[in-house]
């Protein structure tokens, strides 16, 4: 097992990883920007190294300084968390050349899953359903027109190197297609340095269902019960839950096995997530694989009792899976609300600043993951997420009520947060019935609210 892990991240995930390390008896090194000196991950780690100024590009993305920090502190592994360098294959490669273990899959697996066009082809070959569309990259409008005549409108044009909704265009008819290809290519080039785009059939009113997988170096792979992450705003997840209201035991098994095939196809090791779209008929399609721990991993921890970060570290250290597929079962229901320092009344503009009052909810069935505290100043340079509140209940209804109870207790003063917005979601009748699709926020919250005004 590793003796000392450097955490190349900040915020709640850095704290989460430090917690896992402490419980495993592994020493920890926090790295931080000058701005983050007072951050909790710095205080809680055994050691800390300042790696640059506030801007991420000069600190949390500064590979030479992070690797130097690992070297001078004698860390034998680096945990990248999520975001920043978590899916950077070059970072994984440099660490490998320095004999420092990257806590994640191989650089090859990162590369293959990072290229969305290549990933589609690999999945198709592995028997994982993909959304009908182009086999590879689309270069010309003529090629596109020909293809879409077969798969029918609406279609979606996506960037091969993309993610997070950037470089995406929904196209309803042939007239718009040519222009969409050009715009998407330009946008993709600007955002990812790669102008390549591809085309997929646009799935209407889908659910975002993802499967957490764990894989060891021997090639054993297991899946955890699905997470439903359909509650999104502009492709950013806001609220996640497990299990989903629409996945039957049978479908869970089918999709879970497909997720395992996806992982095996790239010789995946450690933990990862295979994201699917599920349409109204219960058909599912591979969307992408996240080759890292995710923000929403705790919902799976609550319903399975598995500590995913500890498992991730164990698996990265070469240990074997210590759980069989048939030992993993869903028990109860869990929900996560991402609390962001944003003003949901003003188009979610970030609300950095000093937290003047902070009283976290507690009691039965509530878990809080946060790196902020009363007196902490949220810097304007990074992600606006300041806390994750998780509720657990015997069933979905209890989990919802507990979350409502917890949010009503949560006092945050000094900055605006998305707590009121989450309260709107939880009180929504469609949400309560489980009728959530990826357009839920737009259709059931934003449009309904504005139509009332």
């Amino acid at each position: 097992m590793f003796k000392k892990i450097l955490i190349a991240n900040r915020g709640e995930i850095a704290l989460r990883i430090i917690r896992a390390c402490k419980e495993m008896g592994i020493r920890t090194v926090a790295v931080h920007s000058e701005e983050d000196r007072e951050s909790l991950h710095v205080k809680v780690a055994d050691e800390s190294v300042c790696i640059g100024p506030a801007q991420s590009s000069e600190s949390y993305l500064n590979i030479p300084n992070i690797i130097s920090a690992a070297e001078i502190t004698g860390a034998d592994a680096v945990h990248p968390g999520y975001g920043f360098l978590a899916e950077n294959s070059y970072f994984a490669e440099v660490l490998q050349s320095c004999n420092i273990k990257f806590i994640g899959p191989s650089k090859e697996a990162i590369l293959k899953m990072g290229d969305k066009v290549q990933a589609r082809a690999i999945m198709d070959k592995a028997g994982v359903p993909i959304i009908p569309g182009s086999v590879g990259v689309i270069s010309t409008a003529e090629e596109a027109v020909k293809l879409v005549r077969k798969i029918k409108y609406p279609v979606i044009v996506k960037a091969a190197g993309g993610g997070g909704g950037k470089g995406m265009r929904i196209v309803q008819n042939e007239e718009a297609l040519k222009n969409a290809i050009l715009t998407a290519q330009n946008e993709a080039k600007r955002a990812f340095g790669n102008p390549e785009v591809y085309i997929e059939k646009y799935v209407e009113e889908p659910r975002h269902i993802e499967f957490q997988i764990m894989a060891d170096a021997r090639g054993d792979v297991v899946y955890l019960p699905e997470r439903d992450c359909s509650i999104q705003r502009r492709y950013q997840k806001l609220l996640e839950e497990s299990p989903s209201t629409v996945i039957s035991d049978k479908l869970r098994k089918k999709m879970g096995k497909a997720a395992c095939r996806a992982a095996r196809a790239v010789k995946y090791v450690t933990v990862g997530t295979v994201e699917f779209l599920v349409d109204k008929d219960g058909d599912y399609f591979f969307m992408e694989m996240n080759t890292r721990i995710q923000v929403e991993h705790p919902v799976s921890e609550l319903v399975t009792g598995i500590d995913l970060v500890k498992e991730q570290i164990r698996l990265a250290a070469g240990e074997r899976l210590d759980v069989d597929q048939d030992e993993i079962e869903v028990k109860g229901h869990a929900i996560e609300c991402r609390i962001n320092a944003e003003d949901s009344d003003k188009d979610f503009i970030p609300s950095p600043g000093k937290i003047t009052k902070f009283i976290v909810p507690g009691g039965p069935g509530i878990r809080v993951d946060t790196h902020v505290y009363q007196g902490y100043t949220i810097p304007p340079y990074y992600d606006s997420m300041i806390a994750k509140i998780l509720s657990y209940g015997h069933d979905r209804e209890e989990a919802i009520i507990r979350m409502q109870r917890a949010l009503s207790e949560f006092v945050i003063e000094g900055v605006k947060t998305t707590i009121p917005f989450h309260q709107k979601i939880l009180a929504n009748q469609y949400f309560k019935k489980g009728e959530v699709f990826t357009n839920f926020i737009q259709k059931r919250i934003i449009e309904e609210t504005s139509s009332k005004q």
């Binding site: 050691e47 190294v49 790696i51 992070i66 320095c98």
Partner: protein, 154 residues
């Protein structure tokens, strides 16, 4: 340094795990090293306003003089993370010593990071007042490594 100040510092670090403390009045730096830990540095870059006010007793005069020095001395900080060396190889003589005169652009140290040696050069003409990191010790981003007194143009 005033004995009272020393006492105050000792009280401050009591019950902490600080094992090494560097205090620099002119440049207003406080550097400390934690047990088994990374180097932690607090930099107070601006001298306190009170110190530049000339006082009216014997102690005061010394304080005033120090105050003047403080406002002109310059701190060179590390812009990278790595291991600090005062000489290019273990066998070579150090680039400079405390008291050495330096020119802008002159090599004054190296920092090793990822098996690569990066040179540290002086950013002004002047005199090295203080080398703040020991040879072979680690530095983090923003850590003060040299105090340089610029040449006074007069």
């Amino acid at each position: 340094m005033d004995p009272k100040d020393i006492k105050k510092f000792l009280e401050l670090i009591e019950d902490t795990d600080i094992v090494e403390l560097n205090w620099e009045k002119d440049g207003q730096h406080i550097g400390f090293r934690k047990k088994e830990g990374a180097v932690r540095t607090v930099v107070v870059s601006e001298p306190a306003a009170a110190e530049s006010v000339p006082a009216n007793d014997t102690n005061g005069k010394i304080t005033a003089a120090e105050g003047k020095a403080a406002s002109t001395n310059h701190t060179l900080k590390s812009i990278m993370v790595g291991t600090f060396f005062t000489a290019p190889t273990p066998d070579s003589p150090p680039y400079i010593q405390e008291g050495s005169k330096v020119k802008k652009g002159q090599k004054i140290a190296v920092i090793e990071a990822m098996k690569i040696m990066k040179e540290v050069v002086s950013d002004m003409d002047g005199k090295i007042i203080k080398i703040m990191v020991e040879n072979g010790h680690h530095v983090e981003y923003g850590q003060p490594i040299f105090v340089i007194a610029p040449n006074v143009e007069s």
